[in-house]
């Protein structure tokens, strides 16, 4: 709207500018410029003669200087010099004794020089004026170019903004699609599974007396597989939920969080000898429930993979990594892994052990990685076969949380 309102004035200014541009360009042609100079001197001379004819005395000097001023004003330095020279010649020839000759008597010499000085001053004033005008014009052209460039840049920014808006819409749409995909997976995939389990159990119940041991084992396998698939779907859904859920970040006391998790896991590992060692843990900045899930996954992994140890040792601690971030680690003396497969550790459904050795779906570390990435941190693992493993993850420190999340997002 503002642009529309400004339109006419802008066009008006531009119109008059271009008019004056044309005016100046007309006199830029050298033939016209020098011609203009000659014509003005000639006209001045004619006027001087006419005035003289009507009895006016000594009018030739002002009339000729006016001609010089005109030539300088409109035609530039070269023509102005020409007009000065012509005026001097005509002045000397027609108006200084002896008349009709180029000789100058000594008596008239000061008169001649005064005219020369006068013409020079007028010419130099005009020249200065022209120079200033030229500078102004250049400055104006420069400004015009700059304004044009700025307008182009604005247009560019505007089109980029539009593009960005479109992208955001596309992203939103694909996000929605993903969400509805996860939804139908959650709903539609579970129903047939429940039926498989339900009818297998009914079959088991109804026909257990007529089925032999082998058939009974088949039914059990169907049941186990269906249940396992149920767990896989649940894990996958939980995993995708972590990617979609909004993070609610606050200051988190890691020490308290870890102790909570260890106490909870301790409930399920009563028969085992596990030495928990918890180092000094700082406060960090993040989503408490997500971080808790990450710690639970890592700690229960450690518990799981130390199962064959008589005395299991699990250490949870922190290493200071500069002023911005802190790195936590969970170390165990369990089964460990071959560093050759370290790249596969954090993949979805990637497992480095046989299901008979250690149960699990292979989503735990992928979940940990996703949580830590959403906090702007990194994960890594170190280990050796049968010599335990250590998993590290970095988090922004509480006091640097603001800048860090700003960078991460």
């Amino acid at each position: 709207m503002t642009e529309l309102a400004e339109g006419p004035t802008r066009i008006g200014v531009r119109g008059s500018l271009s008019y004056w541009n044309r005016e100046f360009q007309r006199i830029h042609s050298p033939i016209l410029r020098y011609g203009f100079s000659v014509v003005s001197v000639a006209v001045a001379l004619g006027i001087a003669f006419i005035l003289q004819h009507y009895g006016f005395r000594d009018v030739e000097v002002p009339v000729l200087t006016v001609a010089i001023a005109f030539a300088t004003w409109y035609a530039g330095i070269g023509p102005s010099v020409l007009s000065v020279v012509l005026s001097l010649l005509f002045f000397d020839y027609f108006f200084l004794e002896p008349y009709y000759s180029f000789d100058i008597s000594t008596r008239d010499l000061p008169y001649f020089f005064i005219f020369l000085g006068w013409a020079g001053i007028v010419a130099s004033f005009s020249a200065v004026r022209r120079r200033i005008e030229d500078n102004l014009r250049q400055a104006r052209d420069h400004l015009q170019v700059e304004v044009e460039q700025r307008r182009q840049r604005e247009d560019e920014i505007r089109s980029l903004n539009l593009e960005l808006g479109k992208r955001a819409l596309e992203l939103e749409a694909s996000n929605k699609e993903l969400e509805s995909f996860a939804y139908s997976v959650s709903h539609d995939l579970r129903a047939p599974l429940r039926h498989m389990v339900g009818y297998s159990e009914l079959l088991q119940r109804q026909a257990s007396s007529v089925l032999d041991e082998k058939s009974q084992r088949f039914i059990r396998t169907i049941l186990d597989s269906a249940k396992r698939m149920g767990t896989l779907i649940d894990d996958l859904l939980a995993f995708s939920r972590i990617g979609r859920a909004e993070t609610r970040k606050t200051q988190v006391d890691l020490r308290q969080l870890v102790e909570e998790v260890v106490a909870e896991i301790g409930q399920d590992t009563k028969g085992r000898d596990i030495a928990w060692k918890i180092g000094t843990l700082p406060a960090c900045y993040g989503d408490r429930s997500m971080l808790r899930l990450a710690v639970v996954n890592l700690a229960s992994n450690a518990v799981k993979f130390t199962r064959m140890r008589k005395a299991a040792e699990i250490e949870i601690g922190a290493v200071d990594r500069g002023e911005n971030e802190v790195e936590l680690f969970v170390r165990d003396n369990g089964a460990g892994f071959d560093m050759q497969y370290v790249d596969k550790l954090f993949g979805v459904f990637q497992r480095l052990h046989l299901p008979e050795q250690f149960e699990g779906t292979g989503i735990g570390l992928a979940t940990v990685q996703r949580i830590i990435h959403r906090h702007g941190g990194q994960v890594r693992g170190e280990g050796a076969l049968d010599q335990g493993a250590t998993f590290y993850f970095s988090l922004p420190k509480a006091q640097h949380a603001g800048e860090r999340t700003a960078n991460a997002s």
């Binding site: 959650s186 579970r190 129903a191 429940r194 039926h195 389990v197 339900g198 149920g230």
Partner: protein
């Protein structure tokens, strides 16, 4: 069992219907069960219209409602019931496969009485249905005048 309230099950999947009925039969809760196969049928039953025009009067003791239904969805049915003065006192239990937070929030905002996610494990499923049936059809006192004795 005397004083057993009627149970309205809204479920489109015939297998789920059979499994639910099996669970209810196991515990002698299946003598007064009505099955509606979509949201429209459920509303027809509650308003005594269409094929249910001649049904005995009175509201069910509890309604077990699936969310994903053909024609009229479960959430729409819930909204309709809870915004109707005569029907809003019918206890509604959402019995669904959906774990989604969005569905739970919507259901509770609409005034659902309970939200139960169907367990994949059959024993748990049977247990859940049994407990729901026992609680709502036997233990719970229905609103006075809503359920015929």
């Amino acid at each position: 069992m005397t004083g057993l309230g009627r149970i309205l099950i809204v479920e489109d999947d015939p297998n789920d219907v059979e499994l639910t009925l099996t669970a209810l039969t196991d515990y002698n809760l299946a003598n007064e069960v009505v099955i509606a196969r979509d949201g429209q049928q459920a509303l027809d039953y509650l308003y005594c219209r269409g094929e249910f025009a001649a049904r005995p009067a009175g509201n069910p003791a509890v309604m077990l409602l699936d969310l994903k239904l053909p024609r009229v969805g479960g959430l729409e049915v819930l909204q309709q019931i809870k915004s109707d003065e005569r029907l809003k006192m019918v206890p509604v239990v959402v019995l669904t496969s959906s774990h989604e937070e969005k569905d739970m929030m919507r259901s509770y905002k609409l005034g659902v009485n309970a939200y139960v996610v169907k367990p994949v494990d059959f024993h748990e499923f049977v247990n859940a249905v049994k407990e729901l049936g026992v609680f709502w059809a036997v233990i719970n006192e229905p609103p006075p005048g809503s359920v015929p004795k």
